[in-house]
């Protein structure tokens, strides 16, 4: 899900803002186009994560540096309790640093299933770094109006066992090529999680999702977690030293 942000950003970077015709493209081609554009050089973004609980909501502000789908570095800026916490993902390795304990912890195994900062997505959701077409075979189910806009509905089925979500469905806006809605299903077909773009913005001459809503669909009455992108910059110089363990303690 989180990966979708960079995926879309890369697609926009490549200048694929022009409308595409569904009749001329197969599902694989639509996904391939998105996957191709996913490999953006880099991006730096500041975002807010609003975690809606039963009684109250928490807002966590962070700044992220992302290179392609392999490397990302996130530093939490607010609230004070979370400020200074950092997260480094390089390939399939995910490490976090907590200033309270001054320790770097590798997130693996059972911990990957834990919620990120109490939100509706897990560390595992952050770990996807393969292209969608490598992981899933795509099938175009048809077109639908989503919030009054034409979207392709694409069904993604895992190519081999072991994908966290064996089945996904994505609603891709025909004009913006943005995955406006995504549903993730369990092996048995139960809906587990969903992501929806609530607001888009125009930045650097491109459309970009501004507000996402992620939900764990198994939690009843869950209001989900909002991800609000406040600032984003593409093609910014990011030194390799940003993606080292030493950077976590810096």
């Amino acid at each position: 899900m989180i990966r979708s942000i960079s995926l879309v950003a890369t697609a926009l970077l490549a200048g694929l803002g022009a409308p595409l015709s569904g009749q001329e493209m197969t599902a694989e081609e639509i996904i391939a186009a998105m996957d191709n554009n996913l490999s953006s050089e880099n991006q730096v973004l500041t975002s807010r994560m609003v975690i809606h609980g039963r009684r109250a909501s928490r807002t966590i502000v962070s700044k992220s540096w992302v290179v392609g789908t392999e490397k990302s570095f996130t530093e939490y800026l607010a609230p004070p309790r979370e400020a200074g916490t950092k997260m480094l993902k390089v390939g399939d390795q995910l490490r976090t640093y907590s200033p309270q304990t001054d320790r770097v912890i590798q997130i693996s195994g059972h911990m990957l299933r834990q919620s990120v900062m109490g939100s509706d997505f897990s560390y595992q959701d952050m770990m996807e770094d393969q292209s969608l077409l490598d992981m899933y075979s795509a099938e175009l189910e048809g077109s639908e109006l989503l919030d009054g806009r034409e979207s392709w509905v694409i069904r993604l089925t895992a190519r081999k066992p072991g994908q966290a979500y064996p089945l996904r469905r994505a609603w891709i806006d025909k004009e913006w090529l943005l995955p406006m809605q995504e549903e993730m299903y369990a092996k048995g077909g139960k809906l587990l999680k969903s992501a929806r773009v609530l607001e888009v913005m125009r930045t650097q001459g491109r459309w970009y999702p501004k507000v996402w809503l992620f939900k764990d669909e198994l939690k009843r009455n869950s209001k989900g977690t909002e991800w609000i992108v406040d600032e984003i910059a593409f093609d910014v110089e990011i030194p390799d030293s940003r993606f080292t363990r030493a950077a976590l303690r810096r």
Binding site: H110, P161, P166, K187, G188, R220
Partner: protein
């Protein structure tokens, strides 16, 4: 020779209230030592009995990567059963259990749990797993403990979603129905545990023929060679409770020490006072031909008899009380799982003959020693000075 005990008894009883005060304090110490030790012994005995009956049977074989205290290793802690153990499994002498980490969503809330697959027809542990033969329509049959039911606000017949990951890492989820809620005194098989039929869980997790650990019947012997799986005997599996009680031993010993010191102090003071007040009597006894050592023996015996009276007094008031507590138990005002020890809702002390005998010997020894120490002064007394009421 009979003169000394007769004199000692007469002098002791003649001291009246002073004697009975000392005897009462000694009796109290005697009672408290037996009662407290009985509580510890009862707790250990209860934990062992319940843990063996509901969880560990005659011992376990663990998959090489299985460690219940390390949840991060549980994803990989499963494998096919060692071939050497398969015949015993077929005979029902060994029970395979598969553990898969998962989450449950009772009333839409999320709770992390361990999904445990167990053969419904097993006879090895005292859990009502036969209810897992039930086949609720469109849902998995699950058995949970009353603690887990309280935590999840679940009742028999309630349905909730279970989510887990299969052996390859894919998420799966399905509805489950609580077919029974068991009252079990071992929180380790209750809190955070959801029991399912073994074959169902194997199918759900894509782990055919696999298990995380094996439990052997109590009438079987744990083999040193588990076919690559690690044998775990009672000493290992009950280490937690043994460590917890051992960690509490210094506190218990301090308590015993204080109680004994109180009793000993009273007797010691009584002896000192007695020797001072009875110096003319001591001088007379010596003048009549009693040797110094016999006089010392007389006073020591007088003191030591406190312990005999204390034992008799405890038998009168303490034994019925100990019996009452041992049969009715003491209610525990909090949930045992909160302190991480397997305990029942009531604690039943266990008193052994060794405990009674040992306590009598220790109390008698301490009382005799503190009775002898002040009496040594008599040996240095000059009979003529003593007759005049002087102490040299």
């Amino acid at each position: 020779m009979m003169l000394t005990p007769v004199l000692a008894k007469r002098n002791l009883l003649g001291a009246g209230v002073r004697t009975w005060l000392n005897v009462t304090v000694t009796s109290l110490a005697f009672f408290m030592i037996i009662f407290t030790s009985g509580l510890y012994d009862g707790m250990i005995a209860f934990t062992k009995r319940v843990t063996v009956a509901t969880e560990i049977g005659g011992g376990q074989y663990w998959h090489p990567q299985y460690d219940p205290d390390d949840p991060f290793s549980l994803d990989d802690a499963h494998g096919v059963l060692p071939p050497a153990i398969l015949p015993a499994v077929a005979e029902g002498l060994v029970m395979p259990v598969l553990v898969v980490p998962g989450s449950v969503y009772p009333q839409g809330r999320v709770l992390p749990v361990m999904l445990k697959g167990i053969p419904p027809g097993q006879q090895i542990v005292d859990l009502p797993t036969e209810v897992l033969h039930a086949t609720p329509e469109g849902a998995l049959p699950v058995l949970i403990g009353s603690g887990m039911a309280r935590l999840g606000k679940l009742a028999q017949g309630d349905r909730f979603v279970i989510r887990w990951r299969d052996a390859y890492g894919s998420y799966d989820a399905q509805d489950a129905e609580v077919v029974a809620i068991m009252e079990v005194e071992n929180f380790k098989v209750d809190m955070g545990q959801v029991w399912l039929p073994l074959e169902t869980l194997r199918q759900m997790a894509a782990m055919p023929g696999e298990a995380s650990y094996l439990v052997i019947s109590t009438d079987q012997t744990l083999a040193a060679d588990g076919g690559g799986w690690t044998p775990r005997d009672h000493d290992f599996l009950l280490q937690d409770i043994i460590n917890a009680v051992e960690a509490d031993q210094p506190f218990a010993m301090t308590l015993y020490g204080i109680l004994l010191a109180l009793a000993a102090l009273g007797i010691f003071n009584g002896q000192v006072l007695s020797i001072f007040r009875r110096r003319r009597e001591i001088g007379t006894l010596m003048a009549l031909g009693m040797t110094r050592s016999r006089v010392v023996g007389l006073f020591t015996l007088e003191g030591a008899l406190h312990s005999v009276l204390a034992v008799l007094l405890t038998a009168v008031w303490g034994l019925p009380l100990l019996y009452l507590v041992a049969t009715r138990g003491i209610p525990i005002p909090y949930d045992a799982e909160t302190i991480g020890i397997v305990m029942g809702k009531r604690m039943f002390p266990v008193y052994s003959a060794a405990l009674f005998g040992g306590t009598v010997v220790v109390v008698a020894l301490v009382v005799t020693v503190v009775s002898y120490l002040p009496s040594r002064r008599i040996a240095k007394m000059n009979p003529t000075e003593a007759l005049r009421g002087r102490v040299t």
